[in-house]
Symmetry: C2
Subunit: 275 residues, 2 copies
């Protein structure tokens, strides 16, 4: 196979995202002509036209669309390789656990204590992120993450279930559903819902980036949200929660990379599921 270098893939991704050679070159920190040449060379070697260029506009061809997706994936894999290698070289191993603030259903304290008491335990760093937690595990920035099934995409990850709980809907006071003791998914149809970063493709809704923002938007009557009941236990004033009887239960899972061979990750998982 004619060798394709990561540099060429990075160049292609930049152009494909910008759809503009000049801006892409600027983003890459090189001049435009070498970029044009590099892309043309890549196309010749692959024997495929990746971009339709007129002097007015640049478009991706269908194979170009494919390469954009696949090249991003390949570049992620290269980055993950480097990160995991560097991590493996650390003399003092540590674990990084990615989680959403408040997204541990109250279990984390026990898990951390139990892990810390196990032989060979290493320090655990907590990385609080709203979205991107699965991506962090995939590319090696985190060793473990607390995710929710089915909300998160667990592709490429191994996981163990920690806890399943029913879901509730968060409503502003005075909402038309606030008088009901319980609601069903059908009642929520048409209501504006949040879309978290890194949700599975196909999920639509109002983009939100953190939970305070979400609570604020609900309080203002702009959104409602379905969340695990443990999240709905302590709410700021102006918000109420109601059980959603027919919502799929949310399962809190502990996830880690399928490629992990780390003794520390295995020990942490053991501690987490032991209870």
């Amino acid at each position: 196979m004619d060798d394709v270098e990561t540099r060429e893939l990075r160049y292609f991704v930049a152009v494909a995202e910008e759809l503009h050679f000049g801006r892409a070159a600027q983003r890459l920190g090189i001049a435009q002509p070498p970029l044009s040449r590099a892309i043309r060379l890549l196309e010749r070697r692959m024997g495929v036209t990746l971009l339709d260029r007129t002097s007015r506009a640049v478009h991706l061809t269908p194979p170009g669309e494919v390469l954009l997706t696949e090249a991003r994936r390949a570049l992620d894999a290269v980055e993950a390789a480097i990160r995991r290698t560097r991590k493996a070289a650390r003399t003092t191993p540590r674990l990084t656990l990615a989680l959403k603030p408040g997204g541990d259903a109250g279990l984390l304290r026990t898990i951390l204590d139990r892990y810390a008491a196990s032989p060979g335990a290493v320090p655990v760093d907590l990385a609080f992120r709203v979205g991107e937690r699965a991506a962090m595990v995939r590319d090696g920035r985190a060793d473990l993450a607390l995710l929710h099934r089915p909300q998160n995409d667990l592709t490429g990850l191994d996981s163990d279930d920690l806890h399943t709980e029913d879901q509730v809907v968060l409503l502003p006071e005075g909402h038309r559903l606030a008088e009901r003791a319980t609601v069903s998914m059908a009642d929520l149809h048409g209501e504006p819902m949040p879309r978290w970063p890194e949700a599975r493709p196909g999920v639509t809704g109002h983009p939100v980036t953190d939970s305070n923002q979400l609570l604020h938007l609900i309080q203002l009557g702009r959104l409602i949200a379905v969340v695990p009941e443990s999240v709905g236990e302590y709410l700021p004033p102006g918000l109420i929660s109601r059980p959603v009887l027919d919502a799929d239960p949310a399962t809190l899972v502990l996830a880690w990379s399928q490629t992990s061979t780390s003794r520390e990750v295995a020990a942490f998982v053991r501690a987490a599921v032991a209870g």
Copy 2:
């Protein structure tokens, strides 16, 4: 992140596999000194010692082991990107379906007919492989594969179940279990079992590469094997099958890449599950 090129990863993988700079250089078609230099440069940029070298032997360090695994994965991703892009560029699309000879439980004829009758159907190439079918889908050599769950590792693949069947054990005539009408998994404990190429990590057993070889080895009394009952229907002389009552049923699945956006793959899957 300091850019690492695929060339450097290929060089590292070659050295890590050969554990010998001279042979690795020969395999790569370059001279030994540039290879030594490239590896050293890679180590400096990553800030990690990957290889312990004495003038007598070369060993992988623990981070080197990690990089070997991860670099292979990353190189596979790059290759898959190129292959899928080229495939997408073909003016006359085709589908490639990887399957094990006889491993279709008799369903394939119907599926192919139904797909061929669907609008927009394209020619389907069949790739008969014993192992490696999942890998073919992952790296783009095949668009679809018939696999068995839980025997195959479906990581990175989407799949739909086609058919579930109970399993039987294949025995040579005169085997100690041959007189029994049925057996249980416990009865098979300690018996020599086959290990197919590309089995999930952790599965142990006598390596076999094709089904004729397997049948022959069973006939010779060297092995026994648990297989789906459709495989055990027509057996060469000297072999008998007995139901294994408590074996997990084997599910024949149709699998394809999670990253596939191909209209043709989607149509084939629809045709396959429609019945």
